[in-house]
Assembly symmetry: C2
Homo-oligomer: 331 residues x 2
């Protein structure tokens, strides 16, 4: 009652195993009538190649590890970024017949597990989502002889091709938008500074304020809604006269809006708010959130292309995608 093997198919079709294999793998050097016979046998027996046997000899697995290296606090906060990346990566990879092996590497022990797994040659390549500077995984994986690409520029300088959006430029555009609409005291809620996106978006904010001779007013959050809420309260204490705030991601912006509301500030009349990411929820805040959109799905698609390219000796240059200001009501 076990699954039919290639041997069985060959026997039924009256050919050798090698010929059956040729048909299965679409080689052209098989006479049409023999091909038909084999295909009929395959259908009748419901034959499906055994991938273990196949990859044992080919040394390929046709699967890609999607490694999400983030502490649980962040992964389980409902940041839609992760799910969007995971889903679009899945779609893209399935389109080219690669399996997606999802690995969460949140703790030190799971790091070891991931490393062992990747080193074990279970996958042909790795897509890494790791955003914390302290993360040893990018460096560790780059040492293995498996192609690795990263979603977002790795926080430590390491030789891994990546796809990222223009965080600095996006933040600059956001702050310039606030300036252009006449805001004078522009604060920011920065993301965690051990993350590239946190750093770069703060840099962009500072660049513009410096160029226009304004003082920067900074509070630091950790990209969660809750931290945005807390940071906003702190900013209001630090500078009650602020009239605008650039929040380094939308999730924190949602929290910030809540704190502003609780403090009795009207948005955008008293305080203008610009977020970053353009998550779905940004359309549903009160008021709807002005934000910087970056194309997560295109970014993921580019990442997949980058990885597949590496398999065939393609280029390993980083890809930087532009961001776009989406003006809604909050600024």
């Amino acid at each position: 009652m076990r699954r039919p093997t290639l041997e069985a198919v060959a026997a039924r079709a009256g050919v050798s195993r090698a010929t059956a294999s040729r048909v299965v793998n679409g080689q052209t050097t098989v006479a049409p009538h023999i091909r038909d016979a084999v295909e009929r046998a395959i259908d009748e027996l419901g034959y499906v190649p055994n991938s273990a046997a196949r990859s044992l000899v080919t040394q390929r697995t046709d699967s890609i590890a999607l490694v999400v290296s983030e502490p649980p606090t962040r992964v389980f906060s409902e940041d839609p970024l992760f799910s969007t990346v995971i889903r679009s990566a899945s779609v893209e990879l399935e389109a080219v017949n690669k399996q997606v092996v999802l690995m969460l590497a949140s703790s030190a022990e799971s790091h070891a597990r991931v490393e062992r797994y990747i080193a074990g040659g279970h996958v042909d390549g790795v897509m890494l989502i790791s955003m914390h500077g302290a993360d040893p995984l990018p460096a560790a994986l780059s040492r293995l002889r498996v192609p690795v690409v990263s979603y977002g520029r790795p926080a430590v300088p390491v030789d891994i091709p990546f796809v990222d959006n223009d965080n600095v430029g996006g933040a600059e555009a956001a702050v310039r938008h606030l300036l252009a609409s006449g805001r004078r005291r522009i604060a920011t809620i920065a993301g965690p500074l051990d993350m590239i996106a946190g750093q770069d978006r703060l840099t962009g904010y500072r660049n513009v304020l410096r160029d226009s001779d304004r003082r920067s007013i900074v509070a630091v959050g950790d990209f969660t809604r809750e931290s945005g809420s807390i940071a906003m309260r702190q900013l209001l204490r630090d500078d009650p006269a602020l009239d605008a705030v650039f929040v380094a991601n939308d999730l924190m912006a949602v929290g910030a809006l809540q704190s502003l509301r609780q403090a009795g500030r009207r948005v955008p009349e008293d305080v203008a708010v610009v977020g970053f990411d353009d998550i779905d929820a940004a359309k549903y805040t009160e008021p709807p959130l002005t934000t910087m959109r970056h194309p997560v799905m295109e970014q993921t698609a580019a990442l997949v292309r980058l990885l597949l390219g590496l398999f065939s000796g393609g280029p390993s240059d980083p890809v930087i995608l532009p961001t776009e200001l989406i003006v809604r009501e909050s600024a």
Copy 2:
């Protein structure tokens, strides 16, 4: 420069391949000093077992398919349910050393792909997330000789063990809460009726209204924010005097709140709103959303246990988990 094999380990440790295998697999019938020698060789060579070779002979793969069978519209809407399930399933499965192979089965062709893959014996078991009645996948997978469990009761009657929450009871509790707070005209925004959760939550709503001799006022959404917004507008047209609404999930409730705001209704003074799911965003709506919580992570953990149990001939009885009313400000 290729990866070391068990043969190499054995040679280095001066033992046979069989003995090295015993050590790798933790068998106890190996003398301590020999075990040490083998382990040293493993360390020195950086040996990692080749899983393809292993599963070729053991007929196990130690990986589990997580099949998400939903149309892209829903999967890519930012419903946090999916990501929470995916993530907690990952965590649970990794804890028992199973790999997670993520498969999105949104189109007919990807259905075929998934079926072929599962039939191909690439995985030891399947966790299925499929909620649409028209979905042929549950039935198809249940016919294969691979253990399958389902997150949520399958919409078509099919012999697959599942874990679900008490949708009917939860909806009843929500509506009873509205009644108890003195609301008279209680409407509902139902989920799609081809989904069990949509059906059951509507049933719960109707049960309570029937028992208290009230008229039901129903609009149907599709569990997205947008549809909640539209459905709410329609309800207000149908019955401008309604004073409460039970929304079948939080995402739609967020949309409904927006429509209520735009229509100038105060929540909860004019209209009370109760949602379902207790997603993270429910805490951040204006006002914060009263909702039915169901423990997604526990549910997922139970699902993993159910599947692992099947491997060892455990019970295949459905597991139904209770829901809990979380009272915030919207009702």
